[in-house]
C-alpha cells in the first residue's frame, strides 16, 4: 500500500515536471505582457513533433543513447524558439497598444492555425515517438520502481528549471525581464529594451515547452497534432494555481497538478482525471483568488 502510494508519487512528480515546464512559459509571458498565450500548448506540440522527426533523422530510432536525447532536445528547442519568435513578431507585437483582448484572440487564432497546419503537415494520425532511452528500472524495492526514463524526465526538468532560475535571477536579461514584469512602462523609461525582453521571454518559454514535448515523447510516445490542447490548458491551470506571473508558483503548480492527477486516476477513476485540474483550480481560487503564491494588488482609490 505504502509502496503503491510512493509509486504514484514518483509517477506524478515525473508527469508534473512536464506540466511545470509548460506552465513556466505561460507564467513568464503573462508576467511581461499580461497575455494568456493560448498558442503555447501548440508550441509544445511542435516541440514533440520536431523531436520525433529529429530523432528519426538522427537515426536514433533503433539506437537509444543519452547523447541522442540531448541532440533531439537541442533540435526541438531551436525550432520552437524560432517558431515562438515568429509568433510574437507577427501575431502579438503589432497589438501591443490594442485593447487587451485583441492579442488573446490572435493567440486563439495561432493555436487553431498550428493545430490545423499540424494536421496537414504531420498528418492527423498519431505517431509513435522513438524510444530515445532503453527503458529499464534503475531502482526497485518490492513493487516500487523508478525507471531511467522517469529519472531522465525529472532530471532534465529540474536541470532546466534550475537554469531558468539562474537566468531570471542572475543575468542581465533576467533582471530586465523582472523589471518589465514589475512595470513595463517604468522599465522602458529606464532604458530596458522592452520589445527585445518580451521576445526573449517568448523564446525562453518556447524552449522549455519544446523540452516538455520531447520528454513527453519519452514517457507517452503516442503524439499527434492535437496533443497540445489539453496539456496546454492544464499547464495554464497549473500556472494559475501557483499564482500567474510567479515563476516558482508555476513550478509548484505543475508538480502539484501532476501528482494529484496521477493519484486521482490511480485511486478514483481516470474519467475524473481531466476534471480534477479544474476542480482544484476552482477550489484554490475560491480560497485564494490570486493563486497560491500570487500577491493581491489593491487598487489605489
Amino acid at each position: 500500500m505504502a509502496e503503491d502510494l510512493l509509486q504514484q508519487l514518483v509517477n506524478g512528480v515525473a508527469w508534473g515536471g512536464i506540466y511545470a515546464l509548460i506552465a513556466l512559459g505561460y507564467t513568464m509571458v503573462y508576467g511581461v505582457l499580461k497575455l494568456i498565450n493560448f498558442a503555447h500548448g501548440e508550441v509544445y506540440m511542435v516541440g514533440a513533433m520536431t523531436g520525433y522527426y529529429a530523432a528519426r533523422s538522427f537515426g536514433l530510432a533503433g539506437a537509444p543513447s543519452l547523447l541522442g536525447l540531448v541532440a533531439t532536445l537541442a533540435a526541438s528547442m531551436a525550432v520552437c524558439a524560432l517558431l515562438a519568435a515568429i509568433i510574437e513578431r507577427v501575431a502579438y507585437r503589432p497589438l501591443r497598444s490594442a485593447p487587451r483582448l485583441a492579442p488573446l484572440i490572435t493567440a486563439i487564432g495561432v493555436s487553431l492555425l498550428l493545430q490545423n497546419l499540424g494536421q496537414l503537415v504531420f498528418g492527423a494520425d498519431p505517431k509513435f515517438f522513438p524510444p530515445l532511452l532503453e527503458s529499464r528500472n534503475v531502482f526497485e524495492v518490492g513493487k516500487l520502481s523508478v525507471s531511467n526514463v522517469q529519472l531522465a524526465v525529472l532530471g532534465t526538468a529540474i536541470l532546466l528549471m534550475a537554469a531558468l532560475q539562474w537566468i531570471v535571477m542572475r543575468t542581465r536579461f533576467g533582471r530586465a525581464m523582472r523589471a518589465v514584469s514589475f512595470d513595463a512602462q517604468a522599465a522602458a523609461l529606464m532604458g530596458v529594451p522592452v520589445d527585445r525582453v518580451i521576445l526573449g521571454t517568448f523564446v525562453l518559454g518556447a524552449v522549455l515547452a519544446a523540452a516538455a514535448g520531447v520528454l513527453v515523447g519519452l514517457t507517452n510516445p503516442k503524439i499527434d497534432p492535437l496533443m497540445g490542447v489539453l496539456p496546454g490548458l492544464k499547464a495554464f491551470v497549473a500556472a494559475v494555481l501557483g499564482g500567474i506571473g510567479n515563476i516558482p508558483g508555476a513550478m509548484v503548480g505543475g508538480l502539484l497538478l501532476g501528482v494529484i492527477e496521477t493519484f486521482v486516476s490511480g485511486y478514483l477513476s481516470s474519467t475524473y482525471r481531466d476534471a480534477i485540474a479544474f476542480v482544484l483550480l476552482i477550489a484554490i481560487l475560491l480560497y485564494k483568488p490570486t493563486g497560491l503564491f500570487g500577491t493581491t494588488q489593491t487598487e489605489k482609490v
Partner: protein, 332 residues
C-alpha cells in the same frame, strides 16, 4: 402593450412562421442546417456580449451553460415531455401541438442554465480579470465532465433525443422559426438591458467599479445578473442546438466552443450587439463556405481570424452598433 407593439410582434411571428413553412421546401437541407447554426451562434454570442462586452467581466466558459441547457432540455424532452407531446398531439393539429410544446423545452434548458449561472456566478464573480476567465473555463469543463459521467443522459455515448415509449412524439425540431424567434428575443432583451438607464449600470461596472459602488450600484449583484441572464440564453441556445440535431454529445461543448463564442464577441467588437451578430454569422458560415478548399479550410479560417484581429484590433464594429436608432425605436 401598445397596438404598435402588438403589430410588431405579430409581424415577427408571421414572418417566422412563413419562413418555417417555406424555407425547407426550397433551401437545400445543408444550407438549412447552416442557417440554424448561425441563429444558435448569434444567441450564444449576443448573450455573452452582455457579460464580456457590456459588464466588462471576462467569461470564457459559455459553452458550459449551453451544455447544461442542451442536456437538461434533452432529458426533459425524453423523460417528461414526450408523454406531454403525445397527449397534445392527440388533442391538437400537429404543428400547433408542437409549437406549444417546444417553448417549454427551451424554457427548461434556459432555466437550468440560469440556475447553473447563478451557482457558478456567485463565487466566481468575486474573481477579477484573467482569474475570472480561467475559473469560468474551469467550471465549464467540470460541468462537461460531470455530464459525461451521468448515465441517464448517455454518458460518453452521447444522448439521442428520442423516447422509445412514445414513438409518436417526434422530439426533433429542425425548423428555424423557433431559432430565429429566440434570436429576436435575445437581441431585444439584451439591447433593452444595456441601452436603457437602468441597464447603464452594466456599463458603469465595466467602466469603473469603484465609481459604480460610490453611486450606489451593487456591483456584485449587477455582475451576477448579467451572468444569469447570459447563462439563461446560452441554455436556450443549447436546447435549440440539441433539438435541431436530435442528438447531444459533450464534445460539442468543450472549451473550443467556449473560445469560439469569445471570438465572436471580441471580433465583432466588445460592447456591440450587432457586432456580435455579424461576427457570429460570418464565422459560423465561413468554415462551411470554405469547404471547397478541403483540408486547407481551417488553416485559412485561422489566418482570417488572425488577420482580421490585426487589422481591426477593436473588433469589426468597435463598440458601435449598426443601425442603433432602428433598434432603439422598435424595442426601446
Amino acid at each position: 402593450m401598445s397596438s404598435k407593439r402588438v403589430a410588431a410582434f405579430a409581424l415577427v411571428a408571421i414572418v417566422l412562421l412563413a419562413l418555417d413553412a417555406w424555407l425547407p421546401s426550397w433551401l437545400n437541407p445543408y444550407y438549412a442546417t447552416i442557417v440554424t447554426r448561425i441563429g444558435i451562434a448569434v444567441v450564444a454570442a449576443v448573450s455573452l456580449q452582455l457579460v464580456n462586452g457590456f459588464t466588462g467581466q471576462f467569461s470564457i466558459g459559455h459553452a458550459g451553460f449551453m451544455a447544461v441547457g442542451a442536456y437538461t432540455s434533452a432529458a426533459f424532452s425524453v423523460y417528461v415531455g414526450a408523454g406531454w407531446l403525445e397527449s397534445l398531439l392527440g388533442l391538437l393539429p400537429a404543428p400547433l401541438a408542437r409549437s406549444l410544446f417546444y417553448p417549454l423545452v427551451l424554457a427548461s434548458g434556459g432555466l437550468a442554465a440560469a440556475v447553473a449561472g447563478f451557482v457558478v456566478g456567485i463565487p466566481a464573480l468575486r474573481l477579477r480579470g484573467d482569474y475570472l476567465a480561467i475559473a469560468t473555463l474551469g467550471f465549464a469543463e467540470v460541468i462537461r465532465i460531470a455530464i459525461l459521467n451521468v448515465d441517464a443522459v448517455g454518458g460518453a455515448r452521447g444522448f439521442s433525443i428520442h423516447a422509445a415509449e412514445h414513438p409518436a412524439a417526434d422530439l426533433r425540431f429542425e425548423g428555424f422559426g423557433a431559432v430565429y424567434a429566440v434570436v429576436v428575443v435575445t437581441i431585444v432583451v439584451v439591447a433593452r438591458l444595456v441601452y436603457s438607464s437602468g441597464g447603464l449600470s452594466f456599463r458603469a461596472v465595466r467602466e469603473d467599479e469603484v465609481a459604480a459602488t460610490s453611486i450606489g450600484i451593487a456591483t456584485t449583484r449587477i455582475k451576477v445578473e448579467a451572468f444569469v441572464v447570459a447563462s439563461f440564453f446560452a441554455g436556450v441556445a443549447g436546447a435549440l442546438f440539441a433539438h435541431s440535431e436530435g442528438y447531444v454529445h459533450t464534445n460539442s461543448f468543450a472549451f473550443l466552443r467556449s473560445f469560439e463564442i469569445v471570438v465572436f464577441v471580441v471580433l465583432g467588437g466588445l460592447g456591440s450587439i450587432t457586432g456580435a451578430v455579424l461576427a457570429a454569422a460570418v464565422l459560423t458560415a465561413a468554415p462551411e463556405l470554405l469547404r471547397g478548399l478541403g483540408e486547407w479550410r481551417m488553416v485559412l479560417y485561422s489566418l482570417l481570424l488572425i488577420g482580421t484581429m490585426l487589422l481591426r484590433p477593436q473588433g469589426l464594429l468597435g463598440n458601435r452598433e449598426i443601425d442603433l436608432g432602428w433598434l432603439r425605436k422598435r424595442f426601446g
